[in-house]
Symmetry: C2
Subunit: 487 residues, 2 copies
Amino acid sequence: MKIELSRDNSNMSLVDQIFFGISERIDSSLLQRGTILPSVRKLAADLGVSIVTVHKAYKRLAKEGYIHIYKGKGAFISDRHKNTLSKYEKKTELSPFHWQQTIDDYIHRAQLVQYLQFSNPIQFATSVIYPKLLPTSLLAETMKSLVDKDPSILVRYCETQGDPELRNEMKKFLNKVYQLQIPIENIMITSGVQQGIDLVARSFIGPGDVVIMEQPCFTGAIDVMRSRGATILTAPVKQDGICLQTIEELCDRIKPKIIYTNPTFQNPTGTVMSEQNRQILIEIAEKYDILIIEDDAVGDLYFNNTTPPKPIKYWDRNGHVVYLKGFSKPLSPGCRIAALAASGIVFERLVAAKATTDICSPLLTQKAVLSFLQSDKMSPHLEKLRIALEVRRDRLHTYFSTHLEQLITYRQPMGGLNFWIELPCKYNAEQLLYQAVEHNILFLPGSACFAKNPRRNFIRLSFSSVSDKDLDEGAERFANLLRNSIK
Amino acid sequence: MKIELSRDNSNMSLVDQIFFGISERIDSSLLQRGTILPSVRKLAADLGVSIVTVHKAYKRLAKEGYIHIYKGKGAFISDRHKNTLSKYEKKTELSPFHWQQTIDDYIHRAQLVQYLQFSNPIQFATSVIYPKLLPTSLLAETMKSLVDKDPSILVRYCETQGDPELRNEMKKFLNKVYQLQIPIENIMITSGVQQGIDLVARSFIGPGDVVIMEQPCFTGAIDVMRSRGATILTAPVKQDGICLQTIEELCDRIKPKIIYTNPTFQNPTGTVMSEQNRQILIEIAEKYDILIIEDDAVGDLYFNNTTPPKPIKYWDRNGHVVYLKGFSKPLSPGCRIAALAASGIVFERLVAAKATTDICSPLLTQKAVLSFLQSDKMSPHLEKLRIALEVRRDRLHTYFSTHLEQLITYRQPMGGLNFWIELPCKYNAEQLLYQAVEHNILFLPGSACFAKNPRRNFIRLSFSSVSDKDLDEGAERFANLLRNSIK
């Protein structure tokens, strides 16, 4: 457990940083019930802080129910969600792998893996699209003819930057749909948007480097930045996107290297950054020499025939934006294909990072997406998909406004895959989740989407991944759950 | 450009660390001809060292031809290989992306990408297998019937750990071939061995953490460890594998976290660690609480019917070994599939890291490899492949012993894909490569395989990736090249 402490960060005290470093590991199940924490003395020595500082952090962890301190025995992770004190069990000491506890690791949180492990029937937690809404049989047919035509795509390595044909098709797509003019030399194929974010972080972010992120934010992006030891500052998400005033105030105080934003149908809130704000954000980046990661995972999935503004990348003159366009969600999550567009040295470094990470993405999955894009079936598919998702959103909205009006607050999303639901303050969504699992439904507790100071009374509920059949049933169970727990 | 300096490292002076941090970036083309280095004063301030220290490092860089210092203008990267002084050109200043030069990056070297960019006809540089030797049409057939049977594999996400069916098949394979007993819960599918190494590094290695690596070593592993800011100590590779005496001496002085080894047909030297040494290495790991990364990319590709010793993992009692078994090279480089086996917290952390990296590997490519493993065609395929590679090795060996006997030294590899060739000291393989490109052949200069103090008179020559037709032609061009440059 490696906690990077930032001493020139008036933003958070050392006690809070230690508290947070440990609690986020517990929240994402990296530290599990019964695990013993290092002694106060040892952790203080490891981190180079006073014993009093660690002691205060442990006391706060105990107060908030994360750990239980047994005098003379040590501090053990407790089971917060069951409201029972854990008997201190040193189960790990009995295992031959016990020595592994002495290895410091650099993983702070991993929310993504946590919710992919469940396999519950009614899945509101992962924001992927119900497979029947995807062009499966079309993909299957093109795939078969591809393999027939050139079986060698199964065995060849591909360039690190990605298949030139696919990059060319991406170029055309980005130009046609968003009026982006990106030469194929500046496009790289990545294993989904997630890998794109990771490549930028591993190339440019290290311990103590400052990143500005949205609050709340896409969990996968937080996981990546935390694992690099970044100092994360947050700016709230408003109705027209990440708060630019906060960003400017932060930039005046401390030089950030990167701003991460998901401007279109933001995950989790669903908000859209206005066109004017996109242009201003570019100006801020130019003024302070900042890189922007623009995560555009679901920009194509707009509702009510209302297209969102053009990507921030459109206004990028000097190579400030690393634009990540996902093709996973609307087409094939399984294929793990996204396009990354950037310029100059920044782009060169990202290609080098990709080679170090996994050499190249599989050619087969690239060709599968290629054949679909070439077939001119992308536009009609997206058209249908938008309608199907809009119908789902409306069904849930109708149900919620009838049955939960007094209980929950949310803004109707104009695109994307999620509702971002606020519960009354007294609710704790993490505890609700444990009851939800018993009712065979799953959602994402909103706290996972906060890079710091998590708020516990939010839920991200994805309307895209359940089957049509399960949508109403799931909504009903969700409503019952909320109503029953208010008692 | 972020250079992590290790101050408690008697192993290398600060001047040498700075020299090396810059020269390896130049060697792997991350810093290119004409780029201006930061001023002595600025770099000294950034690194927190004296101006004299940086000045000495720059002087050494200039002396070895890496840079050219123009009084009052600054230090510019020069073109070493052409033996011409670079006119100092500030081409990057003219570009709108010039501001990007102010962004510190964390990429130290990226040898892999460099040699994948060329597309020369006779390719001795990349150690992949000539596609016609791979079971392409079989893979194509199984792939088509897979997609027919269940088209949804094209669109579904898969568990982060990998497809359970494939993990089960991997389990059986590892048991049958190596007598390894790994439960499927402890197997994860990664995008090639490269990603496996990267996952271990990002989970457990950070700036200043000590890693012991082979010297010479697989370039991709060095790239990964350097990008994490690891302090790399090296142990020479002897005829029976990495030198254990050196490792023990290092462990007595400084606690390493990880030992990286490629024990079977080591890349690049082709050596095999003896069974006894494998057992001793485990004992060392147990004594000093060290993790071992066992890279087994080509263990199945042995010659003369002589199977190598069982993997180090076989003797692992307490979860010290992260075993990486590649399926890319012998089956399908394009599918990017490897199996990772580990235990305890270490394994859990690696799964979390995989989720953060790219969520999961594509299901389609996993199923392709699965169908091949299930078909019982793996053994006969490997059988044939071994013979084909052995024939290639022998053909080159015969040619070399007739035409280059006086000029080059190497040990006949008993498996794997490479010759590791030593030239007389006066040769510089990097400069030779520039001539080789003009002769339309490509090899890997051995210096890329050294984590520190590169030796310039080595060449890694892969006999696996050229076509049958080109093998003799390539050998002849290589021989001519060497003979002509001795004059």
